[in-house]
């Protein structure tokens, strides 16, 4: 594929459609700037600031945009909150829709047939593939991203983190916990 793609880029450049310097910048942005650390800061802010959390759950696009330190967010972001009674999980059964601005590019498993096919029919089985077990009575809500709305899960704040700064809390927030296929790290998991 390397040769085929190089040829394609050559053709599109020679025909004046693309500028390779712009391509380099797009790739650099996804490799170095736009990733799950952005989402983790949003989650940590929601854990420490009840007013922000309220705004996030009411209109995530606006709330995340107001932070400034996260890259600007496109429209239609929806934050869904995990509680002791309810666990949320996000999928795109039709393709690979994913909140790029707050989580970066989706991992291969998110775009794979096993996840896309089973998340809506057997979410507990999928969670087991991630080593995640929920109490049998916990409600599981699966959000299939079939339009241009994008979903981010607000996981539950781990116990034993009272008084922690946003920055310390953000280090506990994993990408998978914001997709709903994992939990945040526990305070003891952090290597100090």
């Amino acid at each position: 594929m390397q040769a085929r793609v190089r040829a394609l880029e050559t053709i599109l450049t020679e025909k004046g459609y693309v500028d390779p310097a712009a391509l380099d910048l797009i790739i650099d942005a996804y490799e170095t700037k736009i990733g799950p650390r952005n989402g983790a800061r949003v989650v940590a802010k929601a854990w420490t600031d009840p007013e922000f959390k309220k705004r996030l759950l009411a209109n995530a696009t606006e709330a995340v945009g107001s932070l400034g330190y996260v890259s600007r967010v496109g429209d239609h972001l929806v934050a869904v909150e995990n509680t002791p009674r309810r666990h949320n999980m996000v999928v795109c059964t039709l393709c690979s829709c994913y909140p790029w601005e707050v989580l970066g590019l989706p991992p291969v498993w998110y775009k794979s047939a096993p996840y896309r096919s089973r998340a809506v029919k057997d979410p507990r089985g999928v969670l087991a593939d991630f080593g995640v077990t929920l109490p049998p009575e916990t409600e599981i809500r699966v959000w299939d991203s079939t339009a241009e709305t994008r979903y981010i899960v607000l996981p539950m704040r781990p116990a034993g983190t009272e008084g922690w700064s946003e920055e310390r809390l953000a280090a506990l927030v994993t990408r998978d916990s914001m997709i709903g296929t994992g939990f945040p790290k526990q305070p003891g998991d952090l290597i100090s």
Binding site: Q2, R4, T10, S71, E101, T138, R141, D144
Partner: protein
């Protein structure tokens, strides 16, 4: 279209296999394909619904056996040829043989914000919403042969309107180059038992985001 891309509820694909410390890209060409697709989209060569349709139109055996970015690359080649932006001879030769066609824009280093921030798909409402939050609705039993965002696994089943997102570009029209044709967009929640029948996990609820033309009162 009823393609293999519409995977919700299919069996037999096996376990989900998370990759520890997964890199952003697994090869340099993947990154170039991603960037080329974004740049050509920003240039106005196609919209996001057309690019999704190009992958759905890949042969089912090719779709299932190709990696994610290979599907992007194959779909992009098809779109370029269909639009006369590139010829088969050029793809074979690996270089331009005739001058390019005009495109609405060109993505430059100064304008890459265009692709790093998603645009808005909201549009002014041409009419009031037909459904309200809490309404019971049924996903129509429809099988358009062209691009649609109504997954097969909900068709014919009833659910509850949970959110209203305003009016959005209608993918079924936009994919065909027929304009935005804005439609009301709803989050509709289904019980697992309604979708998967007896024995389904009673604690599971599934929602899709459904455009108004996909729904009827239930």
């Amino acid at each position: 279209m009823n393609g293999v891309h519409d995977m919700g509820g299919m069996d037999g694909f096996g376990r989900v296999e998370p990759e520890p410390n997964e890199p952003t890209f697994h090869a340099e060409w993947e990154a170039r394909v991603m960037a080329l697709m974004r740049a050509m989209g920003a240039a106005g060569a196609w919209n996001i619904d057309m690019s999704r349709a190009s992958r759905e139109n890949l042969r089912p055996d090719v779709y299932l056996s190709s990696s994610y970015y290979r599907k992007w690359e194959l779909g992009m080649e098809d779109m370029l040829i269909e639009r006369g932006l590139v010829t088969r001879e050029e793809l074979a030769a690996g270089r331009a043989l005739v001058p390019g066609k005009p495109l609405p824009r060109k993505l430059t280093p100064e304008t890459i914000d265009r692709v790093l921030t998603r645009g808005s798909f909201s549009r002014p409402a041409p009419r009031p919403a037909r459904f309200a939050i809490g309404d019971r609705v049924r996903a129509k039993n429809i099988h358009p042969p062209t691009h649609t965002r109504l997954p097969r696994y909900v068709r014919g089943h009833a659910g509850i309107v949970e959110l209203i997102h305003g009016c959005h570009v209608f993918p079924d029209s936009a994919a065909l180059g027929q304009g935005d044709n804005p439609q009301w967009l709803y989050t509709v929640r289904f019980d697992a038992a309604d979708l998967w029948g007896e024995g389904a996990d009673p604690t599971v609820k599934i929602s899709i985001d459904a455009f108004e033309p996909y729904l009827e009162p239930a």
